[in-house]
Amino acid sequence: MKWVEDILQTVDMLQSEHLDVRAVNMGIDLFDCADRDIERACRLAKEKIIKRAAPLVRACESVSRRYGIPIVNRRVAVSPVADAMAGHGGDDLVRFARSLDEAAEEAGVDFIGGYSALVQKGMTVSDKALIETLPEVLSQTSRVCASVNAASTKAGINVDALLLLGEMWLAAAHKTASADGFACCKLSVFANIPEDNPFMAGAYKGIGEPETVINIGVSGPGVVKRAIERLLQSGRRYDLGSLAEEIKSTAFRVTRCGELIGREVASAVGAQFGIVDLSLAPSPEVGDSVGEIFESMGIARVGGPGTTAALAMLNDAVKKGGAFASSSVGGLSGAFIPLSEDASLARAAEAGHLTLDKLEAMTSVCSVGLDMIALPGDTSAETLAAIAMDELAIGVVNNKTTSVRLIPVPNKRAGERAVFGGLFGECPILAVPNGTSAAFVRMAGRIPAPLVSLNN
């Protein structure tokens, strides 16, 4: 009977197909903590974060127990630090980052995002200071995540910022060389960064967001994979259209569960509910992989011909299901392809089927971008900047979010393995032509906004 099938499908989705709430993210405004005295600013920020975020952990636990849906990560995102702490120099910003780290630890949250700068059109003094502190902050704190919005459809691409970031990637990797450059895992560089993204490392509390807000990230690659397998094994006639429909209705169910949890948590902590971000965010665990979805769709070699089309269909169906499920869908909402965090994708790269070029092509049809990509340690700053420029150009021209999370792995070469551990996973180091675009990148300045930006 249909209703029995529906009930059992929902039970399976929760019990055996890895549906979870990947991240409950509390956005906390820190502009009222700004002070010329950095010690006072640190104290105010720390007190505010602990006061607001400590109940979050209890609320997540209670709602998770009641509904039987695991909440994997509890996170905090604060106002972009470069703006909230404008006027402070590098040493003060590092001091402030340490306070954020301490506050996150005391509140019991896994990560704290918002060590961020929005520099798509240019850098202020404090933006530049913040970017220059990234190696120190990311190597000396354990929970602080950083993001830089270096491009937008309206502003174009800030190549000056990307050149500086190229140097910072190398310096941050160097400072954590024994951990394969792990510091870089906590830095995302964006085009068109969303203000309500609950996923790290790119989460920050947008300027237009409420005082305290709960944004929630639901995942579920395993659920989508099982839905596809069920359709293929059902004996029913199917084609790619029906496959897309199946993914869409699964996305609907996943989004609805997420919104329910998000609203309950927001009410319990007295915060506004922001958005539910339905993203297929893989983890290194078997059965929690976007790469495995491709395989279930009939792509025997992930990265081979057809992969980009499969990803486009998957991403679109996920968005449509999410949009129908809720009026509060936001963030990134699509399929992620973080290389080291998805065991199936990492295997495809190891086998040589998934290359940097193919990954870049795939990012033109999905969210978010070149994510968790390990590169040879001798990759130059200009080459890192150029890779970022390529990726951000896709976002700028197509009026969508793209980002890069690049990890130049010190003392390792293409083909060797980078190991980051835990949810960050491991992957082979991808080959990249080094130094071929230095003259172009060194021209610096800003690539102007594309024609598509003139839409008013």
């Binding site: 029995v4 529906d6 009930i7 059992l8 929902t10 039970v11 989705m13 929760l14 019990q15 127990r65 009641r66 509904y67 039987g68 849906i69 609907f252 169910r253 609805r256 569960c257 919104e259 329910l260 609203r263 309950e264 927001a266 009410s267 319990a268 809720s326 009026s327």
Partner: protein, 182 residues
């Protein structure tokens, strides 16, 4: 109760109407070819239980309908504790005593069963029950306790809040399902 055939509801309701009765509630189902029907009827004229039973029995063939008539007694209205609805699913190998074991555990915890549906196919049992769980009980503890109680049976037991099924199966905005009101 009767072996199922087309027209039983028609025949029974016509017999009751002929007695001047108005049907206020119906619950009817067919299980493995057997028809069951529970009706609540308001009689506008004084009728005895025997009169009603015989009238309904005569609506079917001789010996076809097994009828039981009782006067309606208002159930106690106030819930002693606040409760929430959950769906209990049991799935696994069929073995005698499974339902008895699960329901013994539920009763001991003060959990009432509103609706239950079960069948065995290819030696696999499926039980779905809508249950009312006192709000002060910890669901995760209940879930663990139930699974422990069923350790002699090879079944997976899951308790899931009804809001999950409403959220995934209905188009009503999730905002209306919130347990904790803003």
């Amino acid at each position: 109760m009767a072996l199922d055939r087309i027209g039983i509801v028609r025949d029974v309701s016509a017999a009751l109407a002929a007695l001047g009765g108005s049907i206020t509630h119906i619950s009817q189902t067919v299980m493995r070819g057997y028809f069951t029907l529970i009706l609540s009827v308001e009689m506008h004229e004084e009728r005895t239980q025997l009169e009603i039973r015989q009238a309904v029995e005569r609506a079917g063939a001789v010996g076809e309908l097994e009828v039981n008539v009782r006067p309606f007694v208002e159930p106690p209205s106030a819930e002693p504790r606040s409760v929430e609805r959950f769906t209990l699913s049991l799935r696994g190998a069929d073995k005698a005593g499974l339902i008895a074991c699960a329901t013994t555990y539920l009763a001991a915890k003060g959990i009432s069963i509103e609706d239950v549906y079960a069948y065995v196919r290819d030696s696999r049992a499926l039980v779905l029950a809508q249950v009312r769980v006192p709000a002060d009980l910890d669901v995760e503890d209940l879930q663990t306790g139930l699974q422990d109680a069923l350790s002699d049976f090879e079944v997976a037991a899951h308790l899931q809040h009804e809001n999950i099924f409403k959220a995934t199966g209905e188009l009503e905005p999730v905002l209306g399902l919130q347990r904790i009101k803003p």
